[in-house]
Structure formats: C-alpha cells, structure tokens
Point group: C2
Amino acid sequence: MTIAVEAEAGLASGGGVMRFPADRPLRLDSGAVLAPLEIAYETYGELNADKSNAILVCHALTGDQYAASPHPTTGKPGWWHKVIGPGLPLDPSRFFIIASNVIGGCMGSTGPASINPETNQPYGLAFPMITIADMVRAQAMLVEALGVETLFAVVGGSMGGMHVQQWAADYPERMANAVCIAAAPRHSAQNIAFHEVGRQAIMADPDWRGGAYLTLGVRPDKGLAVARMAAHITYLSEPALQRKFGRELQRDGLSWGFDADFQVESYLRHQGSTFVDRFDANSYLYITRALDYFDLAASYGGVLAGAFRNARHVRFCVLSFSSDWLYPTAESRDIVRALNAAGCRTSFVEIETDKGHDAFFLDEPLLDSALRGFINSAAQARGLS
Amino acid sequence: MTIAVEAEAGLASGGGVMRFPADRPLRLDSGAVLAPLEIAYETYGELNADKSNAILVCHALTGDQYAASPHPTTGKPGWWHKVIGPGLPLDPSRFFIIASNVIGGCMGSTGPASINPETNQPYGLAFPMITIADMVRAQAMLVEALGVETLFAVVGGSMGGMHVQQWAADYPERMANAVCIAAAPRHSAQNIAFHEVGRQAIMADPDWRGGAYLTLGVRPDKGLAVARMAAHITYLSEPALQRKFGRELQRDGLSWGFDADFQVESYLRHQGSTFVDRFDANSYLYITRALDYFDLAASYGGVLAGAFRNARHVRFCVLSFSSDWLYPTAESRDIVRALNAAGCRTSFVEIETDKGHDAFFLDEPLLDSALRGFINSAAQARGLS
C-alpha cells in the first residue's frame, strides 16, 4: 500500500516529519478525528532487505523522538543513549530503530501547540483529547509509512510500556517481540492523583490563559515547573534521594529563609526550571490525561488477558524495578499474569535497584543484561545476526 | 514564678489566648526574638489539686488548638475528637488537656499573619524563621503560665511527634510520659522535596505578592490549594487510595476533557479548596520550613541518643503505621533505638493498617488500644485514678 507522505530531511541519525494529509485522518477514541497529521520521528540504523529488523522505541511522558541523538533544545544526549548505540542492547548496526514523538506531544508531532487548520492559531484546548491507543494508532501509521510490515520488537518504558501493551492488543500481527519496562496495565488512583496535582498547578498559573497562552504570547512556566517538580519526586525512590542528597546543604549553614537551603531543593528547582524550556504545558495536560485514562483491561470486560489473546506468537519481556513506587513491581506482575493466562511466552525480571522508576534511563547493569539477553535470543529466533 | 499574662475568655472547652508582653520575648534559634507573643490554646478537663494530670497535645502541620472542640471556621469536630473525650484514651474527666496553636500558625498564635508591631501591618516575610524547638519553647512558656510545673504527658502525631521528641530533649524535667506517633527524628530528602513543591506552588501564585498578600488584600489561594493537594497524597497510602477511589468516575463515562473525571481528582480538588478557607499561605511556608530544618540529632553531634540523655525518667510510647510512607516505621525505629541507647523506658508498636500517615486521625482500633493501654498504665504509675 502506498500512501501520500513526505519526509523532511532529518538529523544525521535519519528521520524527519511524516505528514498524513487531510484525507488520511487519525480517528480518535473520543470520536474526534485529527487531520492533517504530522509525526516527528528519528531512526537509527538501516532497514534490512527483508524488513525484519525494525524496532519501535516508545517514549515516556516527557520523552520524545530523540532517543539516541542529541536533544535539539537542551543539547543533551538522547534519553536512551545508554541503551541504543553501537555495542548496546539496541544496536543500530543490527537493527533499524524508530522513535517517534507521540501525538499530543510538543517535539514535532501534531499536538496542542500545533496550528489548528480551522483557526490558523495553535490548537490549545481545541485539540482533541487523546488516549494511549490513539498514540499507538499514529505510531502504526508511521511504521506502515516507513515500509515496515512487521516490527521485530516494540520496546518502551513507563508510558512507553503502556504503548507496548497497547500494540500487543491492537496490532499483534505486526510485531514479533515486546519489551515492557516499568509500566502498569492501568493508572492507579495515586497515579491519577499526582497527575491531577500537576494539571492543577498548570491551570492555576494565570499565564495558562485557559490554554490559549501561545496565541497570547505568554507561557505558564511557573505552573509547569511546579508540576514537573511534583512528578519528579515520583520518578525517584526515597532511598535514592537520601543517598544522593540526604540533608546536605547548598551552603555552609542554613539561610533562615526560603532560599534553597538543601541540595534536594536546588535539584528540584533545577528540574522544574529546565523542563519548561523543552516542554509545552498543554502537552503535559493532554499526555497526563491520556495516561490517566489508560486501563487496558477495560476494553476487554475487565479481563486483562483478553487484551493479549491474539498475541500468543509474540515473545514478551516484562521488566520492573524493585524501588519503583510510581508503577510498582506488583503492577508488572499483573501484566505477566495476564500474559500467562493468555498463553503468551513471557519472561519477567524484577531488577533490584534503589534508583526508583527512572532506573530505566540510568546506568543499570541488570537492565542492560536483561535487555541484551532478551533481544539477542529473540534475534537468534528470527534468524537475525 | 509569676509572669504577666492575661487569659481571654475561651470556648466552653476552656482556653483562650495567652499574652506574653514585650519584656517576655521568645528567643528563637535563628537569633531573632519574637515579642510580644500570643499563644492561642484550648483546654479540656480540669487541672487537679496537685497539678499532676496535665497532658499537652501537640498538633500536626495544618492542625491547631481545636483538638477536641469544633473548628471555628469549618464547624467540623476537633482533629483528635476520636482520641480526646469521655471514655476515650485522653479523657477530660481524668486529665487536664492543653492544646495550643504553634507559633508561626494562623489560628491565634503569633504568626506571619499577625500584626508586626514595628509596622502595624501583617508580618508577612518579616516574620522570623522558626524551628520545632522554638515552637516547643513557646509551648513551655504556655504550660508554665498555666501553672503546670510537670506535665503528665506530652502527646502528638506527625509534627506533634517532633514536638514530643524536642520536649524530651529540652524539658525532660517537666514531663513524665511521652507519646510520639507517626513521626521521625529528622526530615528526609523526600520530605523536604515534597514541602519544597508546596512552597514553590504558593510562591508561584502571583497573588502571593512576595508574602505581602494580606496587606494588599489578596490571597494566593490557588497556589496554596495545589500545595495542599500534593501534600495530601503523602498523608494517604496507595492501597487506601485504591480501596477508597480506585478508578471510579464522577459521572457515567469520561468527560474527554480536564474536568474531574475520577473521584480521586474531585476528592483532591475538594481537599485543596477547603484548606484555603482555614489556613494561611505564609504559615504554610514557615511551618513546612520548620519541619525541614528539624534534625534532632544535629544538636547532639549527630547522635540522636544524646537528645534523650536526660530523659531516663520519662516513659516513652512510640507508635507508627505500617503504611505510612511520609514518616515510615523505619524512622520511628530510629527514635526507639536512640531512646533505648539513652536508657529510656520505651514501648514501641507498629500498627498494621493500610490507612497511611493520616491513620492517627482516623478510626483505628489498634491506635486506640495502644494509646489507652499506655496512658492507663502511666496514670497508675503516677497514682492517678
């Protein structure tokens, strides 16, 4: 099938923006349609002759397509540069690795900061509500447009792990392997509560202007920074915070004021203030909402195994971190139980670490070896070198 | 010793405002002095003839002196009405129970919303920084002014438990028993981090006006509400949130918008919006700062047992809740270890409950029985009926 797409020149890594014209709309779970649609993506490595070596890498809430190439705003290495690269578990010399920005995002894919064709202004709150399944539907359009019929693997952590599960539910015939890291099959009440704090912080900022801040030339940076600070605590573990910062002071002695006395305060403020340079507040609202709406079993009569009933041929690897309190191991076990009940081949490892949820970004030898082992064994099974 | 104090007419429960004139200043840890000083308090029951039945009840971050009498703003029962009352562990027919608002608070004790005598305007940020030890020093002035030389017990949960420890360090000769519930001997990095999010939320609100909002006739209600929402999550446990709310919706079906779709969102918004009716934003800044500064061992060369070296005659009861992740049981165990090392008589109970930190406010039969048992045995030892 040939579809009308146009790829812009990408970075050295490959990639660009895939454009789907108005007659190729994305139908959303809400009933709305999104058109025209743009999906920004990066690729690493080359698609092999029989198109069997493609891996889709799915990003977390505030991630993007720059998985292994420098971020254009911050200049920092890609968010998964410890996993994707020569000699690493996802090696571009062996695989064609695709990373795309989710719809609703703010790094080039159509989102609330994009121009609404009906008004020629940024969408703002006129952007339709999106779901994890909508994001995956857009990813599937991209993968198809790139000429890949069957993905060797879909891999992701945190929200990316939600995408992986949704792929197995909606497009099992288009994937051979799945790696779901530090995720959950649904958002818990506590997950929703933390996201709601973040959303309220943004919407409490008068510069949010009912979501129309871009049109009005302002930005709710303070609210977005507070949202990020609250969320960031949930990405770390209490022991890691204690080890890293404890009660260490910024200076000799207390300030007896509201300056950042403690290093952990300064660290959090830095997390907030740098985040606003690279992220859009409305995208934060839409993506957190998509996560809160995520409850994979709900579409299958409450039985999670139902989501995986057509994925028996897919090999799954589920990984969790022992100190992750955002998506605790118990939730990965729920996924594993459902996969087993559906008759899927599943390996599961709980990685012992005190680094919390964000361990999947960090130097974590056990993650490296688990991922490497699974990918190598899966590649062998598919006859890939 | 007679000091010049003046007690206003109190509620039916007894109490009022104790005024310490300018020549009786409170010397603060920061080096500043606070004068004149007012301490708002409530009392329940009567002081017996030999003044041996007084219990000081210490409140948590957002608590106040209305421990067992209706809150004047909200009309709700006192925050510890399940513990203080006829037939309850702290029975006013047996004990003279004193509950005072901490300095820095906003329910009548001198705090940042009080009038600064130097400017005849609310203090705002001109209010001096305070510590847990400063709060306890003020409590000790009140207790003395009420004619009580030795307290039968000092009792408190959360921040109130920090007060209890500080009393044992600073005024051991003025107390016979101590009950420390759901507390810690120091604020951890994660504790500080959550407080910092709250402070940043308040200070990000343009109506905070550098702390001068009262003078300018505005209030940073939105920022304070966000601070309360973030903090409130830490007072509950993940299982309790799941049991209470799960993913239950407010209405049939999703709103596909940013209204409160989930009951947990609505609950949190309610917590935020009602809090601002009864609390002052600057008080929230000052009291959270006092908590963050709390590290009892620091004044004793880092050895917590040193704080309790003169409290060998005090009987301690330390209680923690198994699902409390704000001040986890491990931190109560640190207190217990130090008490044991100092040679203090200590009983310790970890109460199994899924209700999280706020269990000490709630119907918790094991808390009731632990408290009742300790108080009764201590009363017997002191010859109180």
